[in-house]
Point group: C2
Chain length 357, copies 2
């Protein structure tokens, strides 16, 4: 790749313009058409430095302090942090086993409308919801899109985990279902190839894209990473992700088994439809924010529920456990260590499993 | 490199923490000690996505709308754009053959002080000033630092061209001369290795660095680029840059010769001390903003002076010509084409050189 095209590194845009390396955008367009049912040209795709930059760019263009946005009540912690930093009013809407609740969304939109407030967007993670790991049905997606149309509020769809559904296929993305420019779509290679590559993408119509391009003054996203992905993905992405899903599912099974052994019924969770995390509810009396701090001192890193919910108080009993990076052995040891700390601090689980051995 | 450390790509920070890939920071620390007289540990260095991200991060931490900053009257266009977007008052201070004028800076600081305004920083490009391509003397640097101390205004030193001084050595950076945290220093590999890599760095004391780290929520800068530079630079950077400087100097000579042939005395400029651009003054009556548009239609890209000066009106007679990327042949053709357009539109140069042949 460098022998063939290395000279283009001497320009800011790899001779591909401000949207990113053209061969990569071509691959993403083909992939989105096949996997997500999105029909778009490479020129409707912007390569970003991770989907995080996609979040930042959309926020920077659409939001001002005092604006209101709707997000899922349980959602990506980094999205909440960003919105708080921007001084935006965050309205959290209930999620159920099918993701963002249509009924609750309608109530929230109606309530805001009565108060003369039109939210700037509805942020949702439909496929492998973060942190609940559900996959939103097509019916629910249609319901959300309907509400988006009625209330004139765009949908901001974050599909960064969508390649990691265990069964290998994902429902059509809302950007694909919608026939207009009402849906902004972001995706990522962080979960499927490597987070350190910092390569994500954003699909949007020209009215928004032109405004985003005007403020993406970073001189382009990582060039070699873009070239590597464009070279690797067409022939190898599918095989790689198939194997990755198997590994992740196996690690998840190890984590679930470890939780059953160590926590017994004290740890409640639903079986994830895919992804890299498990969303666990612990009994009353456990303060997971404190648990997180204690665990970190013992070398076990977990996400406290308070950071993954719009109502931090409601997150105090929840934890988000990632199983992608640690080995099966480390998962087992980590869960055992966590149970030990939790028992010591909160007398939960009531009797520490190990004591019976 | 990938065989040895590829596994670390599966984490966000390459197991090096939020400051960036540790071996690269070690190299930068050694390089800054040797070339710029800056004594700092790798942990006072933040790897950024180009020095542009350094600009953005410092601005984001230090500036609010309505704040005042001091910049050189002729300065990097991207810095001006960014400051305007942030709603900041820009005070442009005169530059002379030695860079930012100490006398003019003192007047500006005194004037602001009388009005009760303390600027947030003094932004300067001391080594290969952009666009005038001068190198600030050590005496002048000391003068600026003295004023910074007296008026309590930090210096924001952008040394992104400092490797490209023709004579191969650069004066000590102000960050190195200063014994306290008053100087923020940024640098880049964009001009010495490749712009598309998007790797720069920022040196700052912990009070500022800790605030910057809190908002650098991008998941890290490009990993493979950082690893490549850490692998390549220790053994090859010096040899490469020595050869690069020779190539650039030769291209500059071609550009100067072409300007003399095509524009004659109508094009005024000083011989750059290094870098990749030539700052040219054209006669009264030429509007370089219009000239830029006309030239672009003929496939010749130049920077209009209005974008490189705080007083856009004063920049109307100036152009910034880059000679790094085009071949010698393209430089000759480009300057000839520019002269043709300039003659057609503004009757400058008075008689087009080619007509005499």
């Amino acid at each position: 790749m460098l022998k063939r095209e290395g000279r283009t590194l001497s320009t800011y845009g790899l001779e591909s313009g401000p949207l990113g390396y053209h061969p990569l955008r071509e691959y993403i367009a083909r992939k989105l058409a096949r996997d997500a049912g999105i029909t778009c040209s490479p020129d409707e795709i912007l390569v970003t430095s991770g989907s995080l930059q996609g979040l930042d760019l959309v926020n920077q263009v659409l939001l001002s302090p005092g604006d209101t946005v709707i997000v899922e009540q349980m959602t990506y912690g980094g999205a909440i942090t960003r919105l708080k930093r921007l001084g935006v009013n965050i309205v959290g809407v209930e999620v159920d086993h099918d993701g963002l609740s249509g009924a609750a969304l309608k109530t929230a939109l109606e309530d805001l409308k009565r108060r003369g407030i039109r939210p700037k967007y509805i942020y949702t993670i439909p496929t492998v919801q973060n942190p609940t790991a559900t996959v939103m049905s097509t019916t629910r997606r249609a319901e959300i899109l309907g509400l988006s149309a009625i209330y004139g509020v765009p949908v901001f769809e974050d599909e960064c985990y969508a390649d990691l559904v265990w069964e290998g296929t994902r429902p059509q993305a809302m950007r694909g279902m919608s026939q207009d420019e009402r849906v902004i779509h972001i995706g990522s290679f962080s979960k499927s190839i490597a987070p350190a590559l910092r390569i994500g993408y954003l699909v949007a119509g020209w009215p928004l894209m032109s405004r985003i391009l005007a403020i993406k003054s970073d001189g382009g996203s990582g060039a070699i990473e873009q070239m590597i992905l464009a070279e690797y993905c067409p022939d190898h992405f599918d095989t790689h992700v198939r194997a990755l899903r198997k590994t992740l599912r196996r690690k998840l099974d190890v984590m679930i088994e470890a939780l059953r052994v160590q926590f017994g019924p004290a740890a409640e969770f639903a079986d994830p439809a895919g992804g890299i995390f498990l969303w666990v509810k612990l009994p009353d009396g456990v303060d997971t924010t404190r648990l997180t701090q204690m665990a970190l001192q013992s070398g076990v890193a977990i996400n406290p529920g308070a950071e993954w919910m719009t109502d931090a108080g409601a997150g105090r009993k929840r934890i988000r456990l990632c199983f992608a990076h640690p080995s099966e052995q480390v998962i087992r040891e980590g869960v055992a260590s966590l149970a030990g700390i939790c028992h010591r601090e909160f007398a939960v689980p009531a009797r520490h499993a190990k004591e019976h051995r």
